[in-house]
């Protein structure tokens, strides 16, 4: 199983990497929400091109980015198949009695382009900041501490649990277990999962005791020393203007 290392290339240097994490979180979120609700195919396409541009500016390796972004297709490809057949509208072509509608095709592609734009932006946002910096930015933005802590711990232990699971999985494979969708396979798999839950539950008490002995009291203490420079202000203003203008163009 692969590690979900989103910030593997956070140490590169680019204007997006240097962007203040707090401003980056805010402006990118605004852009994501703005691009995800554009109604016009052409404007959605411009939004997508803009997010590609940001990705290019950030100098993240293309293979790394493509591997993540192509997930959108797996999720939305069924729409592209179903919607042209089911949405009523002008007939584009007729394949042996089944009519394919232009409206359906346009709507499905609009959805996919909006999703691609949003995912590209979200990916660039997280991939250009170290994960602990993202969490610090969330603290600085006054997101409830309980949620940020849960995000941070969960992220941290995903790596440990993946290792734990891989070990158990390998030993099962050695004993000849193959996961198949029948009653036997699934109930054995249920036992593996139960053991994984018990192992991680036992780990929680050890982790908690270790944390308490280091002074953990449920209240996070983060040293935050972010500083906004002129460049950050300019970049944020541009981003906000683009996010707003995408929706204003539609009215005129």
């Amino acid at each position: 199983m692969e590690y979900p290392e989103i910030d593997a290339f956070a140490s590169l240097n680019s204007p997006i990497h240097r962007f203040d994490p707090r401003a980056k979180m805010l402006t990118f979120t605004l852009l994501i929400f703005s691009f995800a609700f554009v109604d016009d195919l052409k404007i959605a396409l411009y939004g997508f091109l803009f997010s590609i541009l940001i990705l290019l500016v950030s100098r993240l390796p293309m293979g790394f980015a493509l591997k993540r972004i192509r997930m959108v297709f797996f999720f939305l490809f069924p729409l592209l198949l179903i919607m042209p057949l089911t949405v009523d509208g002008e007939e584009l072509m007729n394949i042996s009695g089944i009519s394919v509608s232009t409206e359906g095709l346009a709507y499905a592609s609009l959805i996919i382009i909006r999703a691609l734009a949003a995912v590209t932006l979200a990916f660039t946002m997280l991939a250009t900041t170290r994960f602990d910096m993202t969490m610090k930015a969330l603290y600085a933005l006054r997101v409830p501490g309980m949620l940020v802590q849960m995000l941070m711990f969960t992220y941290r232990y995903i790596f440990v649990i993946i290792d734990e699971f891989s070990r158990m999985w390998e030993s099962m494979q050695c004993k000849g277990f193959r996961l198949k969708a029948n009653y036997h396979g699934l109930s054995i798999f249920g036992n593996i999962l139960g053991m994984l839950i018990i192992k991680s539950y036992d780990r929680t008490s050890r982790v908690y005791q270790a944390m308490v002995s280091k002074g953990y009291s449920g209240r996070p203490r983060a040293l935050i020393n972010f500083k906004m420079s002129t460049k950050d202000y300019v970049l944020s203003t541009c981003m906000v203007l683009i996010a707003v203008s995408v929706h204003l163009i539609n009215w005129y």
Binding site: A115, L147, T154, I161, G194, L196, V212
Partner: protein, 206 residues
């Protein structure tokens, strides 16, 4: 099984976020007085991480493969904490793996989290009545998926009539997953009851 960005209309997305945030805040606020949150936060987080890893496993059925949702099991193991834990899990899933969307985390959390709560209450009710635990586990696992499918179809249709057929297709796609998760949850729950019964929070009042 998750809704991606760009599918839902703005009002549905806003409603999803509102329900998710209010319900999570309510649960965390209530539990603050009942539990020592400093102790609960690492516990919930690590168990959430376990479910996150479990949801990465793909099981192949014929030509396609499904990945596990395990919301029924999450409800049974975490109790009411399953809902805020789901918010954390979905956020990480959306950002780390691009499963589901960022704007739709709220709606997805309603689709997956509320069935988890219902599964928990069903399980607790059945457990107190003394019904066979493996059966209750299987029922809750299947119930979690069935309700998720229904919620998903309902949300898709309420965003636009164009999605009617897509919603039905999604609902049908949930049926085999329902059987798989039923069997797995039943087996996990009976295993936990044998090995570590204190893990099932059936005796707590929330």
């Amino acid at each position: 099984m998750h809704i991606s960005d760009g599918v839902l209309s703005f009002s549905v997305v806003a409603a999803g976020w509102a329900i998710t945030l209010v319900l999570s805040a309510l649960i965390l606020w209530r539990c603050k007085y009942k539990y020592d949150m400093a102790e609960q936060i690492p516990k919930i987080s690590i168990i959430t991480g376990t479910f996150f890893v479990a949801s990465l496993i793909h099981i192949s059925i014929g030509p396609t493969s499904v990945h596990l949702l395990l919301n029924g099991l999450m409800g049974v193991v975490l109790g009411v904490f399953a809902f805020p834990a789901m918010l954390v899990g979905l956020t990480l899933q959306a950002f780390l793996f691009q499963h589901g969307g960022i704007t739709t985390i709220g709606a997805n959390n309603v689709i997956i989290g509320i069935p988890a709560l219902i599964s928990y209450w069903t399980f607790r009710f059945g457990y107190r009545k003394g019904i066979n635990v493996a059966f209750m586990g299987a029922l809750c696992g299947a119930l979690g998926i069935l309700l998720s499918g229904i919620f998903l179809a309902f949300i898709l249709i309420s965003t636009g009539e164009e999605f009617r057929e897509v919603a039905y297709a999604a609902l049908i796609a949930h049926l085999p997953v329902m059987v798989i998760e039923g069997i797995i949850t039943g087996s996990v729950v009976s295993f936990l009851l044998k090995v570590r019964p204190e893990l099932l929070p059936v005796d707590t009042e929330v």
